[in-house]
């Protein structure tokens, strides 16, 4: 009987080691450990043994059974691992095949630039205002200190809806300065983006409709140095840290002193190139300290309050920001263009 057990063990161990499939393994398990299995058959002979022999033989039989069970378990584990490995191998993919992209839409580059600007100013406590595009000439011009006779009032420059030139398409976002002064408590910090209209034929740099963003601050002790500081910050946010700017005197009826801000040409670094027409600088926006007449007309005492304002063209800014060469692309809305942004 002892020999029988040893034989079963050695045969079974060999068989388990060579098993190739879970089914075969199961078959072997039945053959050796099943109710009619070989080991069971041997154990059935235990009754024939003397009581002295039984404990030793019993222990041996249990040992063999444990060994077989362990062998089965490890064989099963091995088979499982092999099966997993095989499956993973079979499931391997060509990861260079392009993914299934969800179609995402794109923000228009002009609005991308505008949203950056809005975020910068909202962060500084500015309110974003919206206002009418069909506007009173009084707000577009008179209240902004642009007297009758100012060239931009010409019918060749602005669009009008009545012979008296009372209602017009605003030629700038600046009337929003007046609307803000008339409706908001002081101090005021606003930006007002929107569409503006001028009588320019469409070409690579002109469009009869374009977008501007107006900015205005009125408070006590507001200085031109503040204006410069804020606009420098804007330039850096838009065009990167270290962007070099310069301020030039200019003239606008509604600011005094007035200035224009240039950004050093990104292409040539100021040496002069075709992009900046050899000047080394590219004009970005117009600005200045709010003209005392404009404050007075809004019943704000210029002795007590001062303010600054700026206005910038958004298409131009977007064009510079994204290196778009032709303004017409902005309004053409070709999806091959739109989907680049």
């Amino acid at each position: 009987m002892k020999e029988q057990l040893a034989k079963i063990k050695s045969e079974a161990m060999t068989a388990f080691g060579a098993v190739a499939s879970p089914a075969a393994l199961d078959e072997l398990r039945v053959r050796y450990l099943g109710k009619k299995g070989e080991l069971t058959a041997v154990l059935k002979q235990m009754g024939r043994l003397s009581p002295e022999e039984r404990p030793a033989m019993g222990a041996l039989a249990n040992e063999v059974r444990a060994a077989l069970e362990e062998a089965i378990e490890s064989a099963a584990k091995k088979l499982e691992e092999e099966a997993l490995e095989a499956r993973l191998k079979a499931e391997s993919l060509d990861v260079t095949v392009p993914g299934k992209a969800p179609k995402l839409g794109h923000k228009h580059p002009m609005y991308r630039a505008l949203d950056e600007i809005k975020d910068i100013f909202v962060g500084m406590g500015f309110t974003v205002l919206d206002g009418p595009e069909i506007e009173l000439a009084q707000l577009n011009f008179d209240r902004l200190n642009a007297e009758e006779g100012h060239p931009s009032r010409d019918w060749s420059d602005s669009f009008y809806f009545d012979r008296d030139a009372r209602v017009m398409l605003r030629s700038q976002t600046s009337p929003m300065q007046v609307r803000a002064m008339d409706s908001m408590p002081l101090p005021i910090r606003i930006i007002a983006p929107g569409r503006v209209y001028r009588k320019d034929e469409i070409d690579a740099t002109h469009s009869p409709m374009f977008h501007q963003v107006e900015g205005m601050v009125i408070d006590k002790n507001v200085t031109m140095a503040d204006l410069k500081g804020t606009l420098n910050l804007l330039a850096e946010e838009l065009f990167g840290k270290g962007t070099v700017t310069r301020f030039r005197p200019h003239h606008f009826p509604f600011t005094e002193p007035s200035c224009e801000m240039d950004v050093q040409c990104h292409k040539c670094g100021g040496a002069g190139c075709p992009t900046c027409k050899g000047e080394g600088w590219i004009e970005l926006l117009g600005a200045g300290m709010i003209h005392p007449n404009v404050l007075r007309m809004a019943n704000i005492d210029p002795e007590e309050w001062s303010g600054w304002a700026f206005g910038m063209g958004l298409e131009r800014t977007a064009m510079r920001r994204f290196k778009i060469a032709d303004l017409r692309l902005i309004f053409e809305n070709d999806v091959r263009f739109l989907e680049q942004f």
Binding site: M124, D154, F161, D162, R189, V217, R248, P249, H250
Partner: protein, 901 residues
């Protein structure tokens, strides 16, 4: 405004190079647009004198010239030009010279003969006849250059000889001798045979291409040499008798002189953009003041001195009246007698040319010169046409006519100011003179007018007559009233300097308005507070004094110079200080003061959210013009009398296409869809957040409502794709009680594929397939889909902020049901019936299939739904669920006649 740097240097010496000059002037407020070295591209081009000319041995049209170019040895140059003669002074581009346009000249052989350079024409020097009027070339038709168009039928026989008739009184004659007669004309001796004998004629001619042995067509009747025009000949018949040739110099120069100095091309021109508040800078003197202050150099201004002494007493000869004093604050005039009209001297012509003004004659040139120098427009008119010796500056009569110097007849009205004599207008004040008093070659007595007119009147007149001139552009900005007298004196001084006439003593000067100088308080603290600087009082005064502000006896006050009408208060003084302190020296600080709570309004936040949903659904943002063509309303199928067509109409549009403010965004979207369709872009999805402009707003303005417009086009795109996006939008804003109702009568949309959608009872928008006829009107033969959503309604429909609902604790039971119903029954109706039939356990209904065909009767359809049932407080039993489904099925049958399949 162009500025000659040579002229500038007469008043203030500035040695800075062009770039440095431009930069400094720009930063002090006079923006430089560009600088131009007039002769920058020209090198090694000198004056040469033609010593001799020989016909080229191997060419029928070239000449071999020997020239004195100021060197020991003469230089040989071959030329094809026929307008030169021995003794002429001409521009010579020597070996290794350069000309405008990057042209390089080197020596070489022309048909075997060495040419050491090139003789230049005006255009080769970058000039034209406006620069040198005498450079115009008149060419005679040389019969020895005749090339018949048809060789078999020549109009002129090849063997024509002097004395042969050409036609009528025109005979062939030979040139026996040509010599210059001065004043640009030539004395020419012609010989021909007449009555079998030789016959010689000597005449004066303008033709410059005559040389000994040439054959010409001589008109015996008019005693002239015929040009091509006289013979009605074409250029190709006389290929070398061209109105072009070498620039024969009439300047005071000698061989070897640099051509740039001789022609005034050694000047540099700076182009300024002058802002409308600074008309004083539209003059050399004005810019000299700015330049002097910028470079901190002294200015040397000159007081005109007039000797006078001309015969006559001015007040006896001329009387001036200004019946409309408010339109003519000042009228200053002087008179010059016995003028000798002729070209002005070279220096004057050069300066005018550098500033972009065409020289005409000495008197006209003087008026232009003074206008450029002083910024004061001047006018000169012929005294003999001032009837009654009287000048009246008056309003025109309605309907009065005047022919202006440009030859146009102007119809005037009483809002316009004219310069008139006793009987008629002789000039349009401040804009242009009249043809009836123009300075002509035989003008003897001249009146110089230097006046100050009301800017608004001039501007309106110029605008209504469509004739903005250099003078009117200056007047309309408001000029210095004190400038008229020095300007007229300067003109008279120049007359004497040029020897152009005798100036009468005395000045007529009517001053209707005595200007008071503006005196301002200098407040250094307030200026510094505005600028954010710490500029000392001394520095401020220094800057102001440099600019011509005078300190007054009263401490702390300055007198604003008369030419600075733009300076009115503290802020203006602050700008002057800032300009010369340097804008870039002003510190940069961040805002102080009370903080404000900025941010976006709920509407702006909604717009941002809508943009996000649209983009995540694959829609690209577009921007379209707010103005459209009225024909676009037709294109989208709107009735001709539809009230929604009532639009704001632009009275002065760029064109019909952009003439009205849209009351709908639909055609703009369709236009862009069509464009992308034509570009063959696939799967196009677009959105725009734009405005429409409806009449009826406050103050006569518009109601500018915002609309979210969606547009899509693509092979697999369907109504339900678009509806899905609309639903996503409505879900995103948590709109409640959303319903979609079919609409068959919207003219822009497909009658069977269009829905209006509502939140509660408020209509939010429309979506659907565009009517095929509308698509076709935009040139698209494919399905286009659009939706229009009102921003206001979306804002109204916006649901409350979300509130947490506990997640289900008990499992749900799902049941699929398929019912068969009539084709006409809508899915919406079935869903309503399902909801109605449910007994409170139904949580979700979702359509998953619609089937027609095999197994289903004709005219019927099978619709399958997935139902989710759940109780909040217990696990449902199958029986409970079945009970509910039974009730649902009963409702379906009752409400819709739908039976379980």
């Amino acid at each position: 405004m162009n500025l000659s740097r040579k002229w500038l240097n007469e008043f203030v010496e500035i040695d800075a190079g062009d770039r440095e000059f431009a930069e400094a002037m720009t930063l002090s407020g006079s923006k430089v647009e560009l600088t131009h070295d007039m002769g920058g591209e020209i090198s090694n081009v000198v004056v040469g004198r033609i010593l001799s000319m020989e016909r080229h041995p191997d060419s029928d049209h070239m000449w071999v010239c020997q020239l004195d170019v100021g060197r020991e040895e003469p230089v040989q140059i071959v030329t094809g030009a026929w307008n030169i003669h021995e003794g002429d002074l001409v521009p010579v581009a020597l070996h290794k010279s350069t000309l405008p346009g990057g042209k390089k000249i080197e020596k070489g052989k022309l048909r075997g003969v060495l040419s050491n350079g090139m003789l230049c024409s005006l255009s080769e020097l970058g000039l034209d006849e406006r620069d040198f009027p005498y450079g115009v070339i008149t060419a005679a038709a040389l019969l020895n250059d005749y090339h018949p168009i048809d060789p078999d039928k020549p109009s002129i026989p090849a063997d024509i000889k002097p004395g042969d008739k050409v036609f009528g009184p025109v005979m062939c004659a030979g040139v026996a001798n040509v010599s210059p007669s001065g004043d640009g004309k030539w004395e020419c001796t012609l010989i021909r045979t007449e009555n079998d004998g030789p016959c010689a004629t000597t005449l004066l001619t303008d033709c410059q291409n005559l040389h000994k042995w040439d054959l010409v067509a001589y008109n015996t009747k008019t005693n002239t040499i015929c040009t091509l025009a006289d013979l009605h000949a074409e250029q190709k018949e006389f290929p070398h008798c061209i109105p072009d040739g070498i620039f024969v110099l009439q300047e005071d120069c000698k061989p070897g002189d640099d051509i740039k100095a001789v022609t005034g091309l050694d000047d540099h021109v700076v182009e300024f953009e002058i802002t409308p508040n600074r008309p004083d800078c539209l003059s050399v003197i004005g810019l000299a003041r700015e330049a002097a202050a910028t470079f901190d150099k002294p200015c040397r201004f000159h007081q005109p001195e007039v000797k006078g002494g001309g015969e006559g007493v001015l007040p006896e000869l001329l009387d001036v009246e200004t019946p409309d004093p408010e339109l003519c604050p000042r009228y200053t005039a002087r008179m010059v007698r016995n003028v000798k009209i002729g070209p002005s001297p070279k220096w004057m012509r050069e300066r005018l040319r550098a500033m972009g003004v065409r020289p005409i004659n000495n008197i006209v040139d003087i008026t232009n010169y003074v206008m450029l120098e002083y910024g004061q427009p001047m006018h000169a008119f012929d005294y003999r046409y001032v009837k009654g010796g009287k000048i009246v500056v008056r309003r025109a009569q309605d309907g009065e006519e005047l022919t202006t110097l440009d030859g146009n007849v102007r119809k005037l009205n009483s809002n316009m100011l004219v310069i008139a004599d006793d009987t008629r207008a002789v000039g349009l004040a401040g804009i242009m003179g009249g043809l009836n008093s123009e300075i002509v070659e035989d003008t003897v007595d001249v009146v110089f007018e230097s006046a100050n007119f009301d800017g608004t009147t001039i501007r309106k007149t110029a605008l209504s007559l469509g004739m903005r001139t250099e003078a009117s552009a200056k007047f309309e900005k408001g000029l210095d009233i004190l400038n008229t007298l020095p300007a007229v004196n300067r003109a008279c001084e120049l007359v004497e300097l040029l020897g152009a006439g005798e100036v009468l003593d005395g000045v007529i000067d009517i001053l209707n308005y005595v200007p008071q100088p503006t005196v301002l308080k200098v407040e250094p603290d307030r200026i510094n507070a505005l600028l954010g600087t710490d500029v000392s009082e001394n520095v401020m005064y220094t800057i102001l004094q440099k600019l011509g502000f005078e300190t007054t006896k009263e401490r702390g006050m300055v007198k604003v110079p008369s030419w600075r009408g733009d300076v009115k208060e503290m802020a203006d003084l602050a700008e002057e200080v800032a300009r010369f302190y340097g804008y870039n020296n002003i510190p940069t600080t961040l805002m102080k003061g009370q903080t404000t709570l900025g941010g976006y309004s709920p509407e702006q936040k909604l717009e941002q959210a809508l943009g996000c949903v649209c983009r995540s659904c694959g829609y690209d943002e577009i921007i379209t013009y707010s103005f459209i063509s009225p024909t676009w309303y037709d294109k989208i199928g709107w009735e001709a009398d539809a009230p929604c067509r009532r639009s704001f109409k632009i009275l002065n549009p760029l064109g019909e296409d952009t003439s009205i403010m849209r009351t709908t965004t639909l055609p703009s979207m369709l236009d862009i869809l069509a464009r992308n369709y034509n570009y063959r872009n696939k799967d196009v999805r677009l959105y725009e957040l734009g405005r429409i402009y409806q009449p009826g707003g406050e103050n006569g303005l518009a109601n500018e409502a915002k609309v979210l417009t969606l547009g899509a086009c693509g092979e697999s795109f369907s109504f339900y794709d678009l509806k899905g996006t609309v639903e996503a939008i409505l879900k995103d804003i948590r709109a409640e009680k959303v319903t979609f109702l079919p609409v068959a009568d919207d003219p822009s949309y497909h009658p069977g594929r269009c829905a209006y959608f509502y939140s509660g009872s408020d209509m939010v928008g429309v979506l659907g397939q565009i009517h095929p006829n509308v698509a076709k009107s935009f040139g698209v033969d494919a399905e286009l889909y659009c939706a229009e959503l009102s921003l206001d309604e979306l804002m109204n429909a916006k649901g409350a902020d979300p509130e947490y609902v506990p997640l289900p604790k008990f499992p749900s039971v799902t049941r699929d049901i398929a019912v068969v119903c009539d084709e006409a029954v809508t899915v919406g109706a079935l869903e309503n019936a399902i909801r109605k039939g449910a007994k409170g356990l139904l949580k979700e209904v979702s359509l998953f299939d619609i089937y027609r065909g095999k197994g289903i009767d004709e005219g019927k359809k099978s619709v399958a739904f997935n139902l989710v049932l759940r109780a909040d407080d217990r696990s449902l039993t199958s029986e409970e669920a079945d009970e509910d489904v039974k009730s649902i099925l009963a409702a379906l049958e009752r409400e819709c006649g739908a039976k379980l399949r």
